[in-house]
Amino acid sequence: MTPLAGYLILSAFLFAIGLGGALTRRNAIIVLIGIELMLNAANLNFIAFWRFGDHPEALTGVIFVIFSIAVAAAEAAVGLALIIAIYRHYQTTNVDEMNSLKG
């Protein structure tokens, strides 16, 4: 197996683990952690393709990952603020119990 395939399969496993957690866990914070893992798997793909691509001197993959990390940080801050606001309202972080809008 070539190194690129190894990194792509590692990234596929990370994405699947994150997706599994986001789909099956009941705690909203763990769902957010799963989404972060999926974003990181995408970042690993960018870096792997940049490293083994034809034009690594263009730095496209690195720049994209830097922007992606910034967006993911903003997403984590807003997501955790939403979870805290919902917890204050419903006294729960269980996504199965958050089933009404305009509560």
């Binding site: 690129l4 699947a16 957690g21």
Partner: protein, 165 residues
């Protein structure tokens, strides 16, 4: 397959799996910090030093701590006796396995993976800074605006609701 890559891959996948399956929320946050460190090691192994250190700073330093704070603020630190997984967890597991199967199949069947190791590209911090300041200066400004808006929004969302009189 080099030995460092195998060690990094095993540690990262084990930490990620632990983060998604453990019962105690604080243990999950620590495990996901371990997975982020493993990813940073993978970036260093791919000779993307700046991204590796940015990963350590942003994810291990900020996001993991943020998750721990959210867990403590929502009393998630106490392990609950209720089930960890939602009742239709087998449906989620099926979707997950299907996605994993498709991804691994696509990777293995792709012609791109026959690419052999090319000489390590230069990605010094100076070049990244030059690229950010010249070619990518507009996206950089937009990201700055996005971060400001997101942080103000996060503070406003998490503010205490005022009681209506």
């Amino acid at each position: 397959m080099s030995l460092p890559f195998l060690i990094i891959a095993v540690i990262t996948i084990a930490a990620a799996a632990a983060a998604m399956t453990l019962r105690n929320l604080i243990h999950c946050a620590l495990a996901v910090a371990g997975a982020f460190v493993g990813l940073a090691a993978a970036y260093l192994n791919l000779s993307a030093q700046f991204v590796g250190f940015a990963q350590v700073l942003v994810y291990v330093g900020a996001v993991a701590i943020l998750i721990v704070f959210a867990a403590l603020l929502t009393r998630g630190g106490e392990p609950s006796q209720a089930a960890v997984f939602s009742p239709p967890w087998f449906a989620g597991l099926g979707v997950t396995l299907a996605v994993l199967g498709v991804l691994v199949w696509a990777v293995i069947r792709s012609f791109l993976i026959r690419r052999e190791l090319v000489p390590a590209p230069e990605a010094a911090v100076k070049q990244i800074g030059d690229a950010l300041m010249h070619k990518y200066v507009l996206p950089l400004e937009v990201v700055g605006l996005l971060l400001t808006a997101a942080l103000i929004g996060a503070v406003i969302i998490a503010l205490k609701e005022e009681r209506k009189k």
